[in-house]
Subunit: 333 residues, 2 copies
DNA sequence: ATGAAAGCGCTAACAC
DNA sequence: GTGTTAGCGCTTTCAT
């Protein structure tokens, strides 16, 4: 069932059929109708590969995320998919399970199948990333590399707000639970350290942990072995793991220990107590990444706007409260 | 950078280069090495579209899920992606947001770009589904349609176990919170009704609800307006929404009300109290679906094994307990 | 074991 | 506004 069959049936040339499917307005209205009818009757579907070959473009985008089943990845993937669709692109998705090798393999496998590639928090070496970016338009999130456009979630300030928040509640000893090494973790850690230093807070660090619930469960006991009264976790999943384990050990949140997460994934509002967290606009990040990618693909000069920064925002919920005995406790007893 | 460039550099014909990339063993060892070297130096990447056109296959699979960001969908997508990879396929992913129209559009958009299509719990009309299945190999999950291979999650029995479990705890009035209309909901509802009838339990039904947290929050108040002491929710997200709202209204789980979910997504273990739920092996479903799809694509006769059933399993956790005043309460006070 | 040549289905000049 | 023609880059007979 090719374009020739349709052409024959409609009594026109193959080129005309092609035009109907590419620039319909360039064909006379009633010829167009005849062609459409013929295509309909024959159940004709244009052959994507042939089209790609002739046009030199695939109409596909690709995204590689750390973990498809992770809530943050899924949210960003969803936004990317919807945005890609608006622009007429289909989307390849792959998860690397946080393995740099798989990530690189996937990126390479996608290169010939897509017009542009989005790498979410990539872990692969700079050189590998650069090699791929030389082959095809690439946009990354949460990674800074010369000449590669990026969407960054800048949580430095918001992390400071989280620490200030805990400080105002009387906390003087905090611990940060580190996530996988990378831009996101660095910014959070920097924000944590600098705010603690500024406020005279005793700051400890544990980890790194994988960005998963079970790791938070494990982290909780390590936290209790310190003197910290407040925990700032790399992400919501770790924070929720902490919440869970603390509850099992009879430690009450926020009465005994306060917990702050990052991301504000749906999870944060689903747990008890609801989680205080630094919201990161995952959907916006996805949308921004796609539009940046499209700019690069269009060959537009993006040097000016090639680093999009999205600020975090502290969302205060029920997992943070006054330190026992402090004045701040009064209202919450 | 085409196959001709590589051929020229290696001093062989394009055909030989092609062979090196398709059936390496059919080329003399040292010719092969020369070609590989040339390809390497030129950074040659085979052109996917040209390859597809010549071979008549794309090397791609597609999956359409109800919601990329939903935990169940994400888990199955992840499994599908990993399984597809094992077999050398890249994966297109699209989310329909539970809209039958979008779902159908995506499926149609994918048809020319893939060798096989997996539709997860499709909502589109039978005829639309059939039309697509006539165009390309299709496998569905949680949908029964003549001649279309399917992976079904059979939760009838396990739902009965859930009801028995509640009955044994003294519950005599239960309510089922219905999810979106479809196979999964029907089986759960059937299992619920038949077990209630068998055990002489007063069975009410509410809904349908979207399979989301916020819908569970909404449902909780409706539940409290009934006399039910036990809730069986369509999925974990709804169940967790119920948990949340009940806590806000001062209703204790499981002391006052017991709650059961479905799916056993990661969520079930993260909330307080941990959720009793009917586990459905999402990852296995994904793997089974892909292998079924590959069979269909290979033209193998699947008439015998074209309906794969995966049984559910009741996982008892902390969200179910004895009815107040009943003998079953004793241990838990 | 390797080369020559045809063609996969479509698009895009270029003519008319 | 429509037809003719030459590829897009690769695979695959068919020779040799």
């Amino acid at each position: 069932m090719s374009i020739r069959d349709v052409a024959a049936r409609a009594g026109v040339s193959p080129a005309t059929v092609s035009r109907v499917f590419t620039r319909p307005e360039s064909v006379a209205a009633d010829t167009r109708r005849r062609v459409m009818a013929a295509a309909e009757e024959l159940q004709y579907v244009p052959h994507a590969a042939a089209r790609s070959l002739a046009q030199g473009r695939t109409g596909n985008l690709g995204v590689v995320v750390p973990d498809i089943a992770n809530s943050w990845s899924a949210t960003i993937t969803k936004a990317v998919q919807q945005e890609a669709r608006r622009d007429g692109f289909a989307l390849f998705v792959a998860g690397s399970d946080e393995a740099a090798v798989d990530e690189e393999q996937w990126a390479r496998a996608m290169v010939p199948r897509v017009d542009g590639l989005l790498l979410v928090s990539p872990q692969m070496p700079d050189t590998a990333l650069q090699t791929i970016a030389d082959l095809i338009p690439v946009v990354v999130t949460n990674r800074v590399l010369d000449d590669i456009p990026a969407v960054l979630t800048n949580t430095f300030e918001a992390t400071g707000h989280a620490v200030e928040h805990l400080h105002s509640l009387g906390h003087r000893r905090l611990v940060y639970l580190a996530g996988p090494q990378g831009y996101a973790n660095e910014v959070r850690l920097d924000g944590f350290r600098s705010a603690c230093a500024r406020l005279g807070i005793e700051a400890a660090e544990l980890g790194p942990f994988h960005a998963r619930f079970t790791e938070g469960v494990r982290a909780a006991d390590l936290v209790l072995a310190t003197e910290a009264t407040g925990v700032v976790a790399y992400n919501d999943e770790i924070a929720v793991g902490v919440l869970n384990r603390l509850a099992d050990r009879g430690v009450r949140v926020p009465e005994h220990v306060s917990v702050v997460g990052f991301d504000d994934t749906g999870l944060a509002e689903m747990v008890t107590p609801r989680l205080t967290t630094v919201r990161i606009p995952a959907a916006s990040a996805g949308v921004a990444a796609v539009s940046l990618l499209l700019s690069v693909m269009a060959g537009r000069d993006v040097s000016g706007r090639s680093l999009v920064e999205l600020p975090g925002e502290l969302i205060i919920r029920a997992s943070t409260g006054g330190v026992p005995g402090s004045v701040a406790t009064r209202g919450s007893q």
